[in-house]
Symmetry: C2
Subunit: 270 residues, 2 copies
C-alpha cells in the first residue's frame, strides 16, 4: 500500500463526523471520546479547513452544538452541515408541506415551515417516537398522496449508544418504502449532494478533502464515491468486520480521532 505521505498528499480540508467520532451518546447524555476535544482543537489551529458533517437528526444544530461545547469542543453552529436544515431548504424550494415523523429535539428546525395539508412525509431518527401509531400515520399520509414524496434524514442502519446498538432511521425508511411501493429521497450522508454542500461551505474540492467517520458505509463509502478520501476510526459504531468489508476499503483505519489527526498533521503538505 502507498505510504501515508502519498495517501494524504494534497489534503486541504477535513470533514468530521460527530457521533461516534467526537462523542458517544446515551439516553443520559453524551461523553467525549478520549482525545477528541484536543484533536479538534489541534486541527482547527492547523492550516487545514475543518467542517463537521453529521447525520444527527434527533437534535437541532443549536442543541447539538450546545452539548458539544459543554463537553469542551471548539465548535459553532455555522461550522455544521446537518440534514434538518438541508431538508428545510429543499421543502421551501419545492413547495413541499411535510408531515413530520421526527424526534422532539429537532422539531425547532422546522419552525416556519408550512405543514398544513401535507404533500410529503419527512422522517428522521425519531427514537421512541417510531411507534406503530406514528409509523402507520406516516404510511397513511403517503398512501393518500397521488405522488407520494418521502424524505429521510439519513439512512443509517444503526448507531451506538453506551447501552448498545440502536436502530437508526434507515430501517424505518425501508419499511415505508416497502409498504408504499416508493423510493425515499435521502438528505444526509451518503448522499453526494450533502457531502458537496459541506465541501462548498469550506471552499475545498472533493479531491482535496478527507472524511473521518465511524461508519464504513455512510461515511467512508459515501465520501469515496464523491471523490474524497476517507479514514474510519475504531470508535462509535465501528465493528471489527468493517476492516474486511466486501466492497468498501477505507484509505486508513485509526484507533480514534486523536490518532487520525496526528497522522494528518504529520503528513499534510507543509
Amino acid at each position: 500500500m502507498a505510504s501515508w505521505a502519498e495517501r494524504l498528499t494534497g489534503v486541504r480540508g477535513v470533514l468530521l463526523d460527530i457521533s461516534g467520532v467526537l462523542c458517544d451518546s446515551s439516553p443520559g447524555g453524551a461523553t467525549a471520546i478520549a482525545g477528541s476535544v484536543e484533536a479538534v482543537a489541534r486541527l482547527k489551529q492547523s492550516p487545514l479547513k475543518v467542517r463537521f458533517c453529521t447525520n444527527e437528526s434527533q437534535k437541532s444544530v443549536r442543541l447539538l452544538v450546545g452539548v458539544l461545547q459543554q463537553l469542551g469542543f471548539d465548535i459553532s453552529e455555522g461550522e455544521v452541515t446537518a440534514p434538518a436544515p438541508a431538508t428545510c431548504q429543499i421543502l421551501k424550494e419545492r413547495g413541499l408541506r411535510p408531515h413530520l415523523l421526527i424526534h422532539e429535539g429537532v422539531r425547532s428546525e422546522f419552525d416556519g415551515i408550512d405543514m398544513s395539508n401535507p404533500n410529503c412525509v419527512v422522517i428522521a431518527d425519531a427514537g421512541e417516537a417510531f411507534s406503530y401509531q406514528n409509523m402507520n400515520r406516516a404510511f397513511q399520509v403517503l398512501m393518500e398522496l397521488e405522488n407520494p414524496v418521502l424524505i429521510s434524514l439519513g439512512k443509517g442502519r444503526y448507531y451506538k449508544e453506551t447501552s448498545g446498538l440502536m436502530l437508526d432511521v434507515g430501517g424505518y425508511m425501508k419499511a415505508l418504502e416497502y409498504a408504499c411501493g416508493i423510493k425515499a429521497e435521502v438528505v444526509g450522508k451518503p448522499s453526494p449532494e450533502f457531502f458537496k454542500s459541506a465541501l462548498q461551505a469550506i471552499g475545498v474540492e472533493a479531491h482535496q478533502a478527507i472524511m473521518i467517520g465511524d461508519d464504513i458505509v455512510g461515511d467512508v463509502d459515501g465520501a469515496q464515491k464523491c471523490g474524497m478520501r476517507a479514514l474510519q476510526v475504531r470508535t462509535g459504531k465501528f465493528r471489527p468486520g468493517d476492516e474486511h468489508h466486501p466492497e468498501v476499503k477505507a484509505d486508513g483505519y485509526m484507533d480514534n480521532l486523536a490518532e487520525a489527526v496526528d497522522l494528518l498533521l504529520k503528513h499534510m503538505d507543509k
Copy 2:
C-alpha cells in the same frame, strides 16, 4: 381472453383467503363481508375441496376460527393453514429457540416452544407491539447472533381495517433485514412451501386449484407462481389500480366472494 369455462377447467380445489375475503377487521371486531357466509356454505356443499389459507398472525387459529364461527361461517380449526403453526413446526425441526415480536393474541400458538437463550427472531403482525423498544430488542438479538435467523410470518405490505389501511409485518421485516444486513425467511403467503402445505392438506395438485384472495401480490401472484390459478376479489385491501398491476394479472376479478363462488359453481367440471 378465454371463456370462464376454459379458464376454470379442471378445478378441483379452492384456497380461500380469510381477511378481506370472508370478513373485514377493525379494532372493535370483525364483520362478515356481504354474501360471504352463504358463499362458503355453498362451496362446502359442492364437490370442490376447500381450505382456508391465511396470513393472519395477530390471532391464534383457535381465536380466529371462534370469531368466524360467531359471524356464521362454517369453518373449523382443522381446515385452516396459518403461519404460526407452520412456524412452530419449522422451529422444532431446526432446533430454533425464538425471540418473539408478536401480538399477544397469537402467543398461545407458541406454547411449548423453548424460548431460552434465543438463536432466532420471529416476527408477526404485532400491531401496537411494533414499538421502537421492541423493534430495537429484536434488532439487538439478531446482531448478537453469529448466524442471525429472522423468520417473518408473512410479508404483507398492509391490510385494511374499517378505519383505513394498516401497516402489516412486511415493512418491519424489511426494517430488520436492512438494519442487520440479512434476508428473512417468510412463512406464509406468498411462500411456495406455504401454498403447497395448504394444497397437500386437501390432496389437490396446484394445477387443479384456484386461490381466491384480495391481495394482488400475496394471494394472486404467489398462487400463480405455484402453478395455481387465482381470482382477486374487489373487497378488503383491493385497490382499483390492482387490475392494472404492471406485473401481475389475475385469472379474473370479481366483486366479492359470493360472485366468485357463483362463477366457480357454474363453470366447474360436472
